[in-house]
Amino acid sequence: MTSPTWNNPIVKWIEYRLPVFSFTQEHLIDYPTPKNLNYWWNFGSLAGIVLTIMIVTGIVLAMHYTPHVDYAFESVERIMRDVNYGWLIRYVHMNGGSMFFAVVYIHIFRGLYYGSYKAPREMLWIIGIIILLTMMATAFLGYVLPWGQMSFWAATVITNMFSAFPLIGEPIVTWLWGGFSVDNPTLNRFFSLHYLLPFVIFGLVFLHLWALHVHHSNNPLGIDTKGPQDILPFHPYYTIKDLFGLGVFMLVFMGFVFFAPNFFVEPDNYIKANPMQTPTHIVPEWYLTPFYAILRAITFDIWFIPAKLIGVIAMFGSVLILVLVPWLDTSKVRSARYRPIYKQVYWFFVIDCIVLGWVGFNSPDAMFMGAVSFLRIGQVATAYYFLHLLVVLPVLGKVERPRSPPDSISAAVTKESNAVTEAA
């Protein structure tokens, strides 16, 4: 694809000094994209759009929010009642958090199914996991800002996790708090960092896209593009497809904003923070419950290591281990379409993650159907989570006999159409 030349003298003057026009042409218009991407490939651009929505609404909310223990809760209520369209902006930001995680989780599971993390896209995957971790930190910090009961106790429980580390644990917690409990200094710094991190994510997304544009998108067949017959220019083919996906996504997002704005929140967060009273039932937001379930699943000491520390390590480890997936999966074939066994254990893993999320919502002592405690279910699900990544993935790559993928993306299509013609 040849870069067009521009005749406008101003464009030419700028282009000679800073080639933004040819850059845009190369990366947003001509950018070669496999022609067989399905709708699961819409979620990356959706995540980018939600990030933008979160930054815009967040900057606006910061114009009205007061990060002080005496005023934070009231300032949020003022946003809801008095600020023009404050209710709308806050509900978009609040539900936007859930939407962001929903979209990103689908994006990650898409990558896991089609083997998008395999060579040469390992860096792309690793940057993605770092983005996920940064998102989790940002979401947690933001959740504390309204200074409701759930905000306060989430801050207390999460920061206390660091006390599990021997010797350095207590000083770290005091340092995080800026005092001897979660208090005004904590709220102030959480606000500062909650404002900072989205821009860090923005920078990471830039690196993520940079890595993507080096080796281009994977595709449902998991094979490399072989030539011009396998690709389409990004614009207009995928700009229009992404826009259509955005429309569908917005129906869901705005459905929550306008018809069930408090669907994802705990009612206790509309009670102002009280450092002297813990709510009877503490749960994180849905997108963190799987990790919360892993944290609580460890109730036993291993040798000299206390259960609390193992729980914290298991929880952080459950995310960090994803960085190693490109090497844990030993199969040469990318797409699960050509991996008959992986295709099935993949769904086990998806169900396992959903079970962990559901366990995280429930009290560990509670019984499911009166037969088995949620703690026990959580332990089994945690065991499978690590078993899948550490044992099933490496072993399966060695023992599974994959079907052979087609020679090229266009060959797959012509073969199908030939088959249709023959059948007719």
Partner: protein, 184 residues
């Protein structure tokens, strides 16, 4: 410049040169300087002077009846003060011999057996255990029960069951008079 340089610039030379030395010395000074400059940016997050200044609390114990508990605030955290009944003291002492996850005798945890003073923060993940009011659950051992993850504490504030690793912390305190304590 009368001294001739020992090594001519650009001359091939085996092993270390003055240039290597200068490079290493500059890097080390630069690294130490950076560390010194970064430290204030890290330490600013530690408790400030005014926060540290608020770190002791005085409590008048005279209105507390036998069997009653009160909660006072110290360093932004609740401190449980329980005036234990003779029965509770006896139970705490007999429990010294039980299987304790964090072994400690009751006598090490109190200055006067009647007054149990502990930080009311669960040693698991920082929730506030229930049991200060007679109507609240006190767990299987008559002390406190943490609703977050189900830790049970006994009448000496020791962990007996559940995920918490340690006993409820005993803060530093002194009896200023017989009916007045200073915590911190």
């Amino acid at each position: 410049m009368t001294d001739a340089p020992t090594v001519a610039a650009g001359a091939p030379h085996e092993g270390e040169t003055r240039r290597d030395f200068l490079l290493i010395a500059t890097s080390v000074v630069g690294a130490v300087g950076t560390a010194l400059a970064v430290w204030p940016l890290i330490d600013q997050m530690n408790p400030a002077a005014d926060v540290l200044a608020l770190s002791s609390t005085e409590v008048d114990l005279s209105p507390i009846e036998v069997g009653q508990s009160i909660t006072v605030v110290w360093r932004g955290k609740p401190v449980f003060i329980r005036r234990r009944t003779a029965k509770e003291i006896a139970r705490a002492k007999t429990d010294d011999a039980s299987d304790l996850p964090d072994p400690q005798a009751d006598s090490e945890r109190v200055q006067k057996p009647e007054w149990l003073i502990v930080v009311g923060v669960c040693t698991h993940l920082g929730c506030i255990p229930l049991g200060q009011r007679a109507t609240e659950p006190r767990g299987d051992f008559g002390g406190w029960f943490c609703p977050c993850h189900g830790s049970h504490y006994d009448t000496s504030g020791r962990i007996r069951k559940g995920p918490a690793p340690e006993n409820l912390a005993v803060p530093e305190y002194v009896f200023v008079t017989d009916t007045k304590i200073k915590i911190g």
